[in-house]
């Protein structure tokens, strides 16, 4: 097995174990920590396919900013251990078949386009960051600006909701 393949399997296993642990952990902080493991493992996977900018941003935004906010809120609310409930009937009869169907669909798509997923040509080469910004600000400038506008609207909405009533 080549070195990138070994690294891929280590990172993939980390991501999957982290995701399972995220669901199974009883304490919210432990769940949040598992989610951080998933995020960092994903960043490693991005790095493996040469997307170094995306990998760094994944860690800065998801691993750093967003998860710190999660941890902060859990600490602030002093959330304790969660109670376990039995699966509802909907989860038992609807959820399981749907999960299986999704897994099957993903597996089918991946095997069909297997060549593009395991493309050895892209492994080991790094996409220059300048290329991403050129694409972002020329070809995809309208979608990019629209996304920014959407985020601005969300920020203003949060501000309005958070503002105290003025009498």
């Amino acid at each position: 097995m080549s070195a990138p393949l070994v690294i891929f399997f280590v990172l993939a296993a980390l991501a999957v174990i982290g995701a399972i642990s995220l669901i199974l952990q009883k304490h919210p902080i432990h769940s949040a920590l598992s989610l951080i493991v998933v995020m960092v493992a994903l960043a490693g996977l991005y790095l493996l396919i040469g997307a170094e900018f995306v990998a760094a941003v994944q860690i800065i935004v998801y691993g750093g900013a967003i998860m710190v906010l999660f941890v902060l809120v859990i600490m602030l609310l002093n959330a304790g251990e969660e109670e376990r409930t039995n699966f509802s009937k909907l989860a038992k009869f609807g959820g399981l078949p749907l999960a299986l169907a999704l897994t099957g669909l993903l597996a089918a798509t991946m095997t069909k386009h297997g060549a593009s997923v395991a493309n050895p040509e892209t492994a080991g080469t790094l996409a220059p960051t300048g290329q991403i910004s050129t694409l972002l600000f020329t070809t995809f400038v309208y979608p990019f600006e629209l996304t920014s506008f959407l985020i601005l609207v969300a920020i203003m909405g949060a501000l309005v909701l958070a503002q105290r009533e003025k009498s």
């Binding site: 304490h27 902080i29 432990h30 920590l33 951080i36 960092v40 960043a43 170094e52 900018f53 760094a56 941003v57 860690i59 800065i60 691993g63 750093g64 900013a65 710190v68 906010l69 941890v71 902060l72 600490m75 602030l76 790094l126 220059p128 960051t129 300048g130």
Partner: protein
């Protein structure tokens, strides 16, 4: 270990803090040239551990993860004061990270790269008719002087490393010792090593991004060649002083150790004086280290000078002063870069 702690997270927190701050040192370049002699069968040894294209982004990614060390230490200790310290630190670091990242965008625009050694190379040469070195803080070289950017960066960086006047997470007059109240022995030491390592990283970043990195402040012409003897001029008297001070030291241990250290320092200075090739090689690391030491001095200086901010003042400075000012700096710098490129 104190009773009632979450054992796994309690032990994980100092480990995270130390490993992450040490990892950030890996991308700092200390000199342009590799060591002039080969190692272990022709291997070239560079003065950095790794020098990736996204060095600056990696530093920010590591800083972003560094919050967890402190926040989790506060939570896992299962005690009031550490929890308050952990809460304060996560809120503070989230707020100041924005200003920290925004304030270096100007430098990235001027250098056109995230690679740290190329950012330094972009600052070589002279500006303002050759009077001043073309460092980002004063240079009109393809951009705008980053004085405001540096102010925002250094302020946010002090807050990010939890030093006075932004050391709310460990405010000893209110929170005993803040997030590390319940830690002792080497687990406490790991937090301290982490804090001082990130101080060194931040000082190195200040030097690299704004003060020309390893570039000498003097021109490269033959007239200024005498400045190349500065390392020896500093090292030899310092070494002699350490020997003199060590001989009349109170304890026998100091009388044994200090003269040895002093002789080594003097010897290094003498070697630099005797071998011009080694002296030339040492120039770049010497200037970078000198700048790093200056900023470390500045850290201690502010600690001895300024009182601690109140919590609401801290948040106001972060969100209402540093963030808008650093965004304005980005816009002005971008305008100048565009104007220079069009000319």
């Amino acid at each position: 270990m104190p009773g009632g702690v979450d054992k796994f997270v309690y032990l994980l927190a100092p480990f995270l803090a130390l490993t992450l701050s040490l990892a950030s040192l890996a991308v700092i370049p200390f000199g342009p040239k590799p060591l002039p002699f080969p190692f272990f069968g022709g291997h070239q040894i560079d003065l950095w551990i790794t020098n990736p294209d996204i060095g600056l982004l990696i530093l920010f990614a590591v800083t972003a993860l560094g919050v967890y060390g402190i926040a989790l230490a506060g939570w896992a200790s299962n005690s009031k004061y550490p929890l308050l310290g952990g809460l304060r630190s996560s809120a503070q670091m989230v707020s100041y990270e924005l200003a920290l990242t925004m304030s270096v965008v100007g430098v990235v625009l001027m250098a056109n790269t995230f690679n740290l050694s190329r950012i330094i190379d972009a600052q070589s040469g002279r500006t303002l008719w050759g009077i001043l070195p073309a460092w980002n803080i004063i240079s009109f070289h393809g951009g705008f002087p980053q004085l405001v950017g540096f102010f925002c960066f250094f302020t946010a960086a002090i807050a990010e490393t939890n030093r006075v006047p932004f050391d709310l997470p460990e405010a000893e007059s209110e929170l005993v010792a803040g997030f590390h109240t319940e830690y002792s022995s080497f687990k406490f030491a790991m937090f301290f090593i982490a804090e001082y390592t990130s101080m060194i990283t931040v000082s190195a970043l200040c030097a690299i991004l704004f003060f020309g990195g390893w570039n000498s402040p003097f021109p490269a012409s033959d007239f200024w060649k005498f400045t190349h003897y500065l390392p020896s001029v500093i090292l030899i008297p310092f070494g002699l002083w350490v020997i003199y001070d060590g001989i009349k030291y109170e304890t026998i241990w100091g009388r044994l150790v200090l003269p040895v250290i002093g002789s080594v320092i003097t010897l290094i200075g003498a070697v630099l004086l005797a071998f011009p090739a080694i002296n030339e090689f040492v120039q770049a690391p010497f200037w970078l280290l000198a700048k790093i030491f200056f900023f470390l001095f500045f850290y201690v200086w502010t600690r001895g000078t300024l009182p601690r901010f109140r919590y609401d003042q801290l948040m106001n400075i972060g969100w209402k002063l540093l963030l808008p000012v650093s965004i304005a700096n980005v816009i002005v710098t971008a305008g100048f870069v565009l104007w220079r490129a069009g000319k």
